[in-house]
C-alpha cells in the first residue's frame, strides 16, 4: 500500500482551475520528484496535502482520507514539510527550532510547565535528545545554540530540513530544498536526501528545479504542467518524453 496517495485531486479558485485531476502516489522509502514549469501547481499540491487548501478528490495517508483535516491534524499523522524559504524562527536557537516540530509529541501541559515539574523536565530532556539526533543526522551540532538568524542561508535551509526530520515523519514534503544553494551545498543536500531515504525509510515528495539533481537522485518523477499530470515514471523515461521537453522548453517556433 502506498504511504500517500493523491487521487483525482482538483482545486479551483473561483473560475480558475489550479489543479486539474491530479493523481500520483508515493511509497515508503521512495523518493518521488515533483517537477514542472513555474506555476504548474507544485506547491499548491503540497498545500492541499498539508490541509491549507481543501480540494475535491481524495488524498489518502495509508488508507485514511485526509482532505478536510486541519493543518495541525495532518502534521499529527506524520506528514512533515519544508518550505521554499525555510520559514524558520530567526530569534530562536537551532535546537529550539527543531523542538517546535516535536510539539505534538511532547507530552507536557501548561500547569506542569509553569511549575517546572520533574516530569516536565524529563520529557523536555527526552525530546531534546531526539532533536539533537536530527541535528547529528545533518551534521549541524556545532550550531545547536546559535540563533537561526545568525546563520548563513545554506545552513538555514539545512536547519529547515533537520526540523522536518526532527518530527520523525512518515512522509516528508520537500519544497525546493536546493533553491538558492551553491553547488557544494546542493551536493550536501543530495547526500542527506539519500541518507534519509536509505536509513529512515520515509516516503518523500520532492519539488525540484535542478534537473540534473532530479535525474541523479529521484526514484520516480511526476510532471505537472498547468495543473495537470503530464507524465509519471522513471527519470530516464520521463526526462526524454517529448511532451515533457515541450512543456519545459516550449514548442519550436514556426518556419
Amino acid at each position: 500500500m502506498s504511504e500517500l496517495t493523491i487521487d483525482k485531486v482538483t482545486l479551483a479558485f473561483g473560475g480558475l482551475t489550479v489543479l486539474n485531476d491530479i493523481s500520483f502516489s508515493v511509497e515508503a522509502g521512495e523518493l518521488l520528484a515533483l517537477i514542472g514549469p513555474n506555476g504548474a501547481g507544485k506547491t499548491t499540491v503540497f498545500n492541499c496535502i498539508s490541509g491549507i487548501y481543501r480540494p475535491s478528490g481524495a488524498i489518502r495517508f495509508r488508507d485514511r482520507d485526509i482532505v478536510g483535516l486541519k493543518p495541525y491534524e495532518v502534521a499529527g499523522l506524520g506528514i512533515a514539510r519544508t518550505f521554499q524559504h525555510g520559514e524558520l524562527y530567526g530569534r530562536m536557537s537551532v535546537l529550539d527550532n527543531l523542538l517546535t516540530a516535536r510539539h505534538l509529541r511532547i507530552r507536557t501541559n501548561v500547569i506542569g510547565e509553569i511549575l517546572r515539574l520533574p516530569s516536565t523536565r524529563s520529557e523536555e530532556r527526552r525530546h531534546r535528545d531526539v532533536a539533537n539526533q536530527a541535528l547529528h543526522f545533518v551534521e549541524l551540532e556545532r550550531y545547536r545554540d546559535t540563533p537561526v538568524a545568525d546563520l548563513p542561508y545554506g545552513v538555514q535551509k539545512l536547519v529547515g530540513f533537520a526540523r522536518a526530520i526532527a518530527a520523525e515523519p512518515n512522509v516528508l514534503l520537500l519544497d525546493e530544498p536546493s533553491a538558492g544553494l551553491t553547488r557544494e551545498e546542493r551536493e550536501d543536500f543530495a547526500h542527506y536526501i539519500l541518507k534519509i531515504r536509505d536509513q529512515l525509510n520515509i516516503g518523500m515528495i520532492w519539488i525540484e528545479h535542478d534537473m540534473q539533481m532530479v535525474a541523479d537522485l529521484a526514484d520516480r518523477i511526476h510532471v505537472l504542467d498547468y495543473g495537470k499530470s503530464l507524465a509519471d515514471g522513471r527519470p530516464e523515461d520521463v526526462l526524454r518524453d517529448p511532451e515533457v521537453i515541450r512543456a519545459y522548453l516550449g514548442t519550436q517556433a514556426g518556419p
Binding site: 486541519k70 512533515a80 514539510r81 518550505f83 510539539h103 501548561v110
Partner: protein, 348 residues
C-alpha cells in the same frame, strides 16, 4: 613575554561570550544584594516608587508574554488590571473575603475574560486585534462604573490591608517584601512558559501561523492559552494594586494605562523577560524624572500647571525614539553597549 596576564587581557577574558553565564550570575547576585539592602536605606517615598515598579513589572511580564512572545497585540491591559482590582475590591467589600481568596479569584476572573477576549484573535490580527481588545477595556470600565454608582456615589471601594499568616501587610517595607516575592514568582511563571513547549508554540505562532500549523501546532488553542495565562496574571497584578492602594476606583484605569504598559515592553525590549523589568522601571520613573527636571528649570512655577502635558509629550517622544532608533529596547541597547565594550577592549 612573562607568564603574567596583562590587566587588559584579563578583563577581555572576563568579558568573553564564553563566560556569559558566569557574568549573568554575577549581575544577578549584584541585583539580589541591591534588592535586599534597598529597604534599609530607602525613605517611605522611595519604597512607594519601588513598589509601583514591582507592581508594574508583574503587569509588564504578563503583557510581554502575550505581545512580546505570542505576538498578540492587546489594548485591553488596563481593562484586565481593572477587572482584577474590582474582583478583589468587590469580594472584600461584599463578602469580607481575605487576601488569599481575593488574589486567586482575580486570577480566575482574568483567565475567563482572557478566554472570551482572546476569541477575536482567532480571526483578527495586528491592529485589528488591538482594536477588538479595546472592547474589553470599555466593558470592564463600564461595569466598574455601574458598580460604583450602585454602591453610592463614585467614591470607589475601600479595601482593608491584607494579612498573611497573621501578619498585616500595611507598611511600605512589608509590601516591598511581598511584591518582590510576587515579581519573582511572575518572572518564574513567564520564564518557565517561555522555555517550554507552550512557549515555543507562542514563538511559532508569532512567526508565521501557516508554518506553525504545518508543524503540528494548534494555532487557535495556542493563542487562547496565551490570552488566558497573560490575562490571569494581569488581573492578579490588578488585585495586588488594589490591595496596595487600599482603594479601587475606576478612574485609575484609563486607556493611557494600557498604552503605558505597551510602552514598557517596547522600551524594555520586545520578546525579552528582563525587558519587562527594565521597561517597568523606566516608565514608572519617567514622570518623577520629568518633575525633577522641570522643577530645576527657570520659571518652574509657571510650568507647574502643564506638568501633565509635559509628561504625556515626553512619554510619546521617548516611545518614538525607541521605536525608531532602538526597536529592541533597553535590552538591545545593553547588549550593544556590552559588545562595543568588548571590541574596544580587544583592540587597544
Amino acid at each position: 613575554m612573562s607568564d603574567q596576564v596583562h590587566p587588559t587581557q584579563l578583563s577581555t577574558v572576563m568579558l568573553q561570550p564564553a563566560s556569559r553565564s558566569a557574568r549573568t550570575i554575577f549581575v544577578s547576585a549584584l541585583l539580589a544584594v541591591a534588592i535586599i539592602i534597598f529597604p534599609f536605606f530607602a525613605t517611605p517615598f522611595h519604597l512607594d516608587v519601588a513598589n509601583q515598579i514591582l507592581l508594574a513589572s508583574i503587569g509588564a511580564l504578563s503583557l510581554m508574554l502575550l505581545t512580546g512572545f505570542a505576538g498578540q497585540i492587546s489594548l485591553g491591559h488596563a481593562g484586565l488590571i481593572a477587572a482584577g482590582a474590582f474582583t478583589a475590591g468587590i469580594l472584600s467589600k461584599e463578602a469580607g473575603a481575605p487576601f488569599w481568596i481575593g488574589i486567586p479569584a482575580a486570577g480566575a476572573t482574568g483567565g475567563l475574560l482572557g478566554l472570551i477576549f482572546g476569541l477575536p484573535s482567532l480571526r483578527l490580527r495586528g491592529v485589528y486585534l488591538a482594536v477588538s481588545t479595546l472592547a474589553l477595556h470599555f466593558i470592564v470600565v463600564y461595569a466598574g462604573g455601574e458598580y460604583e454608582n450602585l454602591v453610592g456615589g463614585s467614591g470607589g471601594i475601600l479595601i482593608p490591608p491584607p494579612s498573611l499568616w497573621g501578619l498585616k501587610i500595611n507598611t511600605g517595607k512589608a509590601w516591598y517584601v511581598l511584591l518582590v516575592a510576587g515579581a519573582i514568582l511572575a518572572f518564574l511563571v513567564t520564564w518557565n512558559v517561555v522555555r517550554s513547549r507552550t512557549g515555543r508554540a507562542f514563538a511559532a505562532v508569532h512567526g508565521r501561523e501557516t508554518v506553525a500549523a504545518a508543524l503540528g501546532i494548534n494555532v487557535a488553542r495556542t493563542k487562547l492559552t496565551a490570552f488566558v495565562i497573560s490575562s490571569s496574571m494581569t488581573a492578579i497584578a490588578g488585585a495586588l494594586f488594589a490591595y496596595y492602594r487600599g482603594f479601587v476606583s475606576i478612574e485609575a484605569f484609563s486607556l493611557y494605562l494600557s498604552i503605558q504598559y505597551i510602552a514598557m515592553i517596547i522600551i524594555g525590549g520586545i520578546g525579552t523577560l528582563p525587558g519587562a523589568f527594565l521597561g517597568a522601571l523606566f516608565v514608572t520613573l519617567l514622570p518623577y524624572l520629568i518633575e525633577t527636571v522641570v522643577a530645576h528649570l527657570p520659571g518652574a512655577q509657571a510650568m507647574a500647571g502643564s506638568i501633565f502635558a509635559v509628561n504625556y509629550a515626553a512619554f510619546g517622544l521617548v516611545m518614538i525614539v525607541f521605536l525608531v532608533f532602538e526597536p529592541s529596547g533597553l535590552v538591545g541597547l545593553w547588549r550593544r553597549l556590552e559588545r562595543r565594550l568588548l571590541i574596544g577592549r580587544q583592540s587597544p
